[in-house]
């Protein structure tokens, strides 16, 4: 996967991972890696700032917990984050369908549910 393609969608991907429930930073990053089957394998340390930025812009909320004697920051999707994810998802569905109609040959594009 070309890096410049991924960077335009990182925020939406992080929001999508947190849609399933609250997660700490490393769990978010690991879920991103596993759910993409290793396609999105960014240096872990560089993803944390993206989480902080999403929090600053109100799409995520975070709280500190103490786990095993150490501090752990846990992220939650806010209502605004949920709305943003919904908008990103709609936009992506339209965009990918349009691109596929042009790029994919000899294969009918599956109906969008």
């Amino acid at each position: 996967m070309r890096a410049e393609i991924l960077k335009g969608h990182l925020d939406a991907l992080l929001l999508a991972v947190l849609e399933a429930g609250d997660q700490h930073g490393y769990a978010v990053i690991e879920a991103l890696r596993e759910r993409s089957q290793g396609a999105f394998d960014l240096p872990t340390g560089t993803i944390y700032p993206a989480l902080h930025r999403l929090q600053r812009t109100g799409l995520l909320h975070s709280r500190w917990e103490t786990v095993g004697g150490r501090r752990r920051r846990v992220y939650t999707l806010t209502d605004a984050g949920q709305q943003a994810l919904h908008a990103e998802r709609s936009g992506w569905t339209e965009f990918s369908a349009a691109v596929s109609r042009l790029l994919v040959r000899d294969r009918a594009w599956p109906a969008i549910p």
């Binding site: 960077k7 993206a50 990103e88």
Partner: protein, 267 residues
């Protein structure tokens, strides 16, 4: 073997002389931000490193292999610090702007009590005549609010400011506040020389102390903004959601690393 350790307390004790501690020391040295912000970043990265180590041990690595794999997975401390630079600078700039907003009335009330016309409510022209910096203060407050909105919850609806622009705007606003306080202090000096006894000494003292305290603090903050810009206030992995894109940014650096052209840092 126990269940997936991702959300469990770490079984790994952090060795103060081990490679993770060395990594965190190197990261701390490379981070640029307030002590508290750095401590939060270090705590979060530390927790992540231990979780990653647990994960690698769960998959069968030895303790040393697991730590080294976790460190390689996180990327070099310089790369991580660079990825954090934009966010830390933006957070600090926002705190500075909020403080400017909050201290404005605390200092301004002394000047109003000292110099505002006796008849209340005064005619706007009289008020501006008594406090000539008022239009500048009004514009500055509007600009501060705009920067806060563009870097906060409203950034999705407004043109988003990059970290570099945020720091630059904050510096300009801090210098404007500095100029306002210097102007008011010069005015106070002129009043004291021209007509001693015309104004209450307590009010004059309060206004002078308030403006001098803010001058010192704002001067320090403006200096921080300059240092921040000079040392490379750069953004971070961003995306279409935020609209963040910056000239000469670290975005490419971070994602080039994703392509594994930058190798992982080795302890």
């Amino acid at each position: 073997m126990a269940g997936d350790p991702l959300n469990a307390p770490s079984a790994v004790a952090s060795d103060p002389a081990g490679p993770i501690a060395a990594y965190l020391t190197a990261l701390d040295a490379a981070l640029f931000g307030s002590r508290r912000a750095r401590a939060d970043v270090l705590d979060e990265v530390h927790d992540g490193l231990l979780a990653a180590t647990d994960r690698h041990r769960y998959r069968g690595a030895t303790a040393l292999e697991a730590e080294q794999a976790a460190l390689a997975e996180f990327g070099r401390p310089e790369l991580v610090a660079r990825a954090f630079a934009g966010e830390l600078a933006t957070a600090r700039a926002r705190r500075l702007l909020v403080t400017l907003l909050l201290t404005g009335p605390l200092v301004g009330v002394w000047w109003l009590l000292l110099l505002a016309p006796h008849r209340w409510p005064p005619h706007p022209g009289q008020l501006v005549s008594a406090l000539p910096v008022l239009p500048v203060v009004g514009l500055t407050v509007a600009a501060v609010l705009a920067v806060l909105a563009s870097t906060g919850g409203l950034s999705r609806r407004l043109p988003a400011l990059t970290p570099r622009r945020t720091v630059q705007a904050t510096r300009v606003l801090a210098l404007t506040c500095l100029a306002v306080d210097v102007t008011m202090l010069a005015l106070l000096l002129a009043i004291a020389v021209a007509g001693p006894g015309a104004h209450a000494p307590a009010l004059m003292l309060g206004a002078a102390v308030g403006s001098l305290a803010r001058l010192t603090w704002v001067g320090h903050s403006a200096h921080w903004c300059r240092r921040s810009a000079l040392t490379g206030c750069v953004p971070f992995p961003g995306g279409a959601t935020s609209g963040h894109a910056d000239e000469g940014s670290s975005v490419e650096g971070a994602f080039v690393a994703a392509d594994r052209r930058l190798t992982g840092w080795r302890p």
